[in-house]
Symmetry: C2
DNA sequence: ATTGTTATCTAACACGATTTAGAAGAAGGC
DNA sequence: GCCTTCTTCTAAATCGTGTTAGATAACAAT
């Protein structure tokens, strides 16, 4: 055999199935059958199977991902598109998604989709077939249109946490409206009437404002008129929560309670309250959203709307895979429940909801 | 042309370069040359180029990632292996890395490498050629051995933040020893003698304990004997910092200051101090590490050792790409500086170091 | 001896792109 | 008219794998 010079841009030579075949003294077909565990049914003798497996191990052969997915039309990769990687809850979602994917023989490719340019790149990668399916958190309208195109080409796409922006996309979402409702209702039950809301400016891009809708509904059901001056929007970050709270505190007639879009913003808001000498919960009750670990490590400990991040990750992965393997009729939407986690910052009884406090 | 049934596991049909060629009335070769911007030099007329580009756009043609990387020996993907996705600073690293990669025409594939099984999977993916290069945060010894094999096969591998565990791997690291030294030295200069240290249990797996070494060196230089009872190790999390601090507070003779492995642990430690009624900084000075945003939103605001997360991400990506494109002799190691960011929790003067306080 | 059956393995094609080597035609110089 | 040169394009090989259709040999049944 002539040893050619290394072609083109290749730095080194990985072994191919042909080399394994040569070492084992069989054909490439046999190597492929054995290594894909189809040797038994297709009548490759146990002795040959062992010889092939041994040869592959000796060369530490690893099939080429590119060649395999070109031939198989399957990458066994699921893309996970996230907008922020700076939230504590993402780690739980990703961990559970990883475990679920691994169990079924898939890998996760996490992509950031924070900026427009990265979204365009993600779209071109995905339509180039870099993954078999996609899980995505709330996509803005223009990106959702791209994703819809992919879905129409047969790629399973699951929207995570939020409502699906389009019927072509499946959803594994959280009952955010109910979360907003329960949080606000809790504050009402504690006697508050002037209840403010800090929302996320990013919601402007989406059609629905799920948490805010729950807030407004709870006020309406209690016969309290919503006051637009009590609603502040800001970036969903620590700094955003901080500045939104400062805005609320600048008002003549301050609210006595506030429902905040996320725990992260709520931590920023708490810092603003301390800076202004406002005692929590005595002068201002605070309820956040998400149930992140950090909420238990601030003073006062943060009351929040909790839900299972792990279930989101796991169910989203399973939804993609069951579509890919055509196991069952896919569910168009799965809705996960929320629960109010009462700690210190709201001034209520310290429990884990489901209970019916005074 | 006969329309075949869709082969095998394929859900739908994406257009191929052959279809673009047919629509434009040219050969596949021409399509390839035009779409890869080699049409000019290789004498494809402007008129033909326009026709091909138009046909590709009309079909919204996207080259198959698998076929292209099979042929080119290049995926234009850089893998980014992270151990924790729950740290606030990761977002900055990833954001900067993304921007740098995009600018050079590469994409980032973020993989979690938190669990052994995921590490094995990551290794098999990488040796299957799923990416052209790898950026990884402190790999434990067994995984580092795998990475070394990849490096010896010619794959560029860059270790991020920490010392490289092996000379075969490049490093873009932070001067963690100096950070530990500066932080501890600051506490000494403020008059503290009993200075505790909360470290990360994960360091046990690594050869070096960089921050801790700086702490010990500073004590030694000041003629203070290190007291093993003043060193507590725990998981690098909020809860870990909380429990480590509780351990330190249980001692007969409490320290008057503590240098903590990370800001995240420090926030947990601050919560423990408040629970025990220990005033910060009056009764206990605290210095963290990393400079995450959260440190500015806790009470008291956290003094910390800061460094540029963005530079780490950017330089790591550039190191991988310059190896891939063979531009220059690669640097075996790049060391980024740290700076002490003095806020409230240490009781020192509020500045941004570089200054020489009293 | 022929035919059929079973067990085991292989030759050759296909996947979709890039690239090498060279073809076809026009233009120009003699 | 013949040779060279340039411009513009293409046929065919190639990357490493998976898969289809069929080869070969051994053995049994008739």
């Amino acid at each position: 055999m002539v040893k050619r010079a290394l072609p083109h841009g290749r730095a080194s030579r990985r072994p191919t199935s042909a080399e394994v075949a040569a070492l084992a003294g069989v054909s490439r077909t046999t190597v492929s059958l054995v290594l894909n565990d189809r040797g038994g049914e297709l009548g490759i003798s146990a002795e040959t199977r062992a010889r092939v497996a041994d040869a592959a191990a000796r060369l530490s052969y690893q099939p080429s991902h590119a060649a395999r997915s070109l031939r198989r039309w399957r990458t066994n990769v699921i893309a996970l598109l996230l907008y922020t990687l700076d939230s504590f809850y993402n780690a739980e979602i990703i961990g559970a998604a990883h475990a679920a994917a691994l169990e079924r023989g898939y890998s996760l490719n996490i992509m950031s989709a924070k900026f427009d340019e990265v979204q365009r790149r993600a779209y071109s990668l995905l339509s180039g077939g870099v993954a078999d399916g996609v899980i995505v958190a709330a996509p803005p309208a223009d990106f959702a249109a791209d994703l819809k195109k992919l879905a129409e080409n047969g790629m399973p796409i699951v929207v995570m946490q939020h409502h699906s922006p389009d019927p072509a996309l499946q959803a594994v979402r959280v009952d955010l409206e109910r979360g907003g409702y329960v949080a606000t209702r809790h504050l009402i039950d504690l006697g508050h009437r002037r209840i403010a809301h800090i929302g996320s400016a990013s919601q402007r891009l989406l059609k629905r404002r799920e948490r805010s809708d729950g807030y407004l509904q709870a006020l309406q059901d209690a016969g309290i008129a919503a006051d637009p001056r009590l609603i502040a929007m800001a970036e969903p970050s620590l700094a955003g929560g901080f500045s939104a709270m400062q805005e609320l505190l600048a008002q003549d007639e301050r609210p006595s309670a506030v429902f905040v879009y996320s725990d992260q913003m709520a931590v920023g808001a708490l810092h603003a309250l301390r800076k202004h000498g406002v005692r929590v919960p005595e002068e201002m009750a605070v309820v956040g959203f998400d149930g992140i670990a950090l909420g238990g490590f601030v003073t006062p400990e943060l009351t929040t709307v909790d839900y299972s991040r792990a279930d989101i990750g796991r169910l989203a992965v399973e939804a993609v895979i069951s579509r890919l393997e055509g196991e069952a009729e896919p569910l168009r939407e799965q809705v996960l429940p929320v629960r109010l986690l009462v700690r210190e910052s709201c001034g209520g009884v310290r429990t884990v909801s489901d209970g019916e406090g005074a």
